[in-house]
Amino acid sequence: MIDILIEVLSIPFVQRALIGALLIAIVASASGTFLVFRGLSFMTSGVAHAALGGAALGLFLQHSGLVPWFDPIIGALLFSVFVALVTGYAGETGMTQKMEVAVGVSFALSMSIAVFLMYYIPPTQVPQIWGYLIGDLLLLDNFDIVLLAITAIVLVLITLVFNKEFIYVSVDMEGSICHGMNARAYHYLMLITSALAIALATKAVGAILVYAIMVAPAAAASELIKSIRGIFIAVFVIALLSELMGLVASFTVNASPSAIAGILAAFSYVIAMQIKKLRDRVSIDLDQFPQHDEEATLVLREALDTSAHEGHDH
């Protein structure tokens, strides 16, 4: 048994998958948590699709010979930053609803650009665009790992240094500005680093895993856990476990590990909601047995007595 395990673990693509899973869990914890705090979980899918439009633009510029050096990944990163900027501009006053609309609009715009450009890209190249959305933990190459590792390290550093700022911006933008903090700069910094991380992670492991892992664990953890640090840790653990279970399962049932990990991560949210409901029910049950209050009963009885007397008088 152990022999088989060691043998499996020595296969390079399995090793890359494990390292990839770890790095994605770090990205989810550092970036996904802030997005959920900010009420911006929708931004993940907006950015990933915008990156698709950018990749299409990159391919178009390359193949039309207009800008031969323009790699699709540059286009993808540019478009994801564009979504972050539009979203940030809409949310400068701290209004989340406006940011959601901005994500939706810039998402639609980039998808339209992608589809529009597909007519002008040689049909043989079109799958490469969609390929941007479809990656998998088992298909990672060394370059993907390097890209993911750099993303994760930069993200962790920025989060370590600026976590208070990001939280203050989410909680009280107005108050932060009025106390002299450059809240606008941190607001944009948070959105842009998240967008870049989402785009790079999507490139590496594919959109499905990124959607599920960036949003669901953070949403699940913030339903249940009452401390910020606890949420960061829980997100990391949930994300990593989902991915590992996805990988293990993919060897037995012959399915994409990303898809299984996505399903598991989504389930963590459903389970969290269920636990929360149970918890609420338990505390209500306790409330139904308040301590017996002699005085209150007495007052109540007196009140009932007098009203009964009054009733007789009439």
């Binding site: 705090f37 900010r38 701290g94 909680v171 009280d172 108050g175 106390h179 009452k226």
Partner: protein, 267 residues
């Protein structure tokens, strides 16, 4: 020494991008130090005036000076002096910040990153929570508190900070009698111990009229400015609260009776 002014407002007009003229023809000045109340009904431009004075909104006409600094050109300097508490509904509840973290904000926001809390910061935070009787809730998640408790924590946040101006936007909104008294008392005590200016937005003058020195009655323009007693005038109050406004005297104090004041408080 030269007389300092907390506010010098000249010919101020503020318009929102949607065309709403929130303030017009606003002229007044208030000497420093003071405990000042800005009073007016909903939509009268109270919050707008505070935000304009902090440089969050640019006036379309005129200017505001805070302790001599211009709100547009020198808002950085003003923000160094101010501890600000926005209206409670502007505080996001999606992050499980602890009560202590909220109170520490006013101190940590004035530091450069990474903004670690020193033991002095913690001490100040604890002390100001005590002033509003919330020290027990130090480690509780802020979003789980009741509305009135949150308001008390936010007042503690202002008290914990440094800087000669406290600006509080409706710190009494949604609080019961007890919380109101506690907040008012805490502010009064703090003011008697420290040389600070307190500016408080409210739509009910009664709970604080014995404490404040200057009152600004606002209804998108200045309706009146002066001492609380001068402002407790039926004709002035009718201008902002409509014809049903009254002033009653009880136990040597005047009270205004308007739709906005808790009439049941003074039976």
């Amino acid at each position: 020494m030269e007389q300092q002014f907390l506010f010098e407002v000249e010919d101020l007009a503020v318009k929102y991008p949607n065309g709403e003229l929130a303030l017009y023809n606003v002229n007044f000045s208030i000497k420093s130090p003071t405990f000042m109340a800005i009073v007016g009904p909903n939509g009268s431009g109270k919050s707008t005036l505070l935000k304009t004075s902090l440089g969050l909104i640019k006036p379309v006409r005129g200017q505001v000076k805070v302790l001599g600094y211009d709100s547009v050109r020198e808002n950085k300097k003003i923000r160094k002096l101010v501890r600000y508490v926005p209206q409670r509904d502007r505080i996001g509840l999606s992050v499980p910040l602890k009560v202590k973290d909220v109170v520490l904000m006013s101190r940590l926001l004035k530091k450069p990153p990474p903004r670690f809390a020193s033991s002095k910061d913690n001490e100040m935070a604890r002390e100001s929570l005590k002033r509003v009787n919330m020290a027990d809730l130090w480690d509780r998640p802020f979003p789980e508190l009741s509305g009135g408790q949150r308001q008390r924590v936010l007042v503690a946040r202002a008290l914990a900070g440094d800087g000669p101006i406290l600006m509080l936007d409706e710190p009494l909104a949604g609080t019961d009698h007890e919380s109101q008294d506690m907040i008012v008392e805490a502010l009064g005590d703090y003011r008697s111990e420290h040389e600070v200016n307190i500016v408080m937005v409210t739509h009910d003058l009664n709970p604080i009229h014995t404490l404040v020195q200057d009152v600004l009655l606002l209804k998108n323009t200045v309706v009146g400015v002066g001492t609380p007693c001068d402002m407790m005038d039926v004709d002035l109050l009718k201008k902002i609260y409509g014809p049903t406004a009254k002033v009653v005297e009880y136990a040597g104090h005047k009270y205004c009776v308007t739709h906005d004041s808790g009439v049941d408080r003074h039976d």
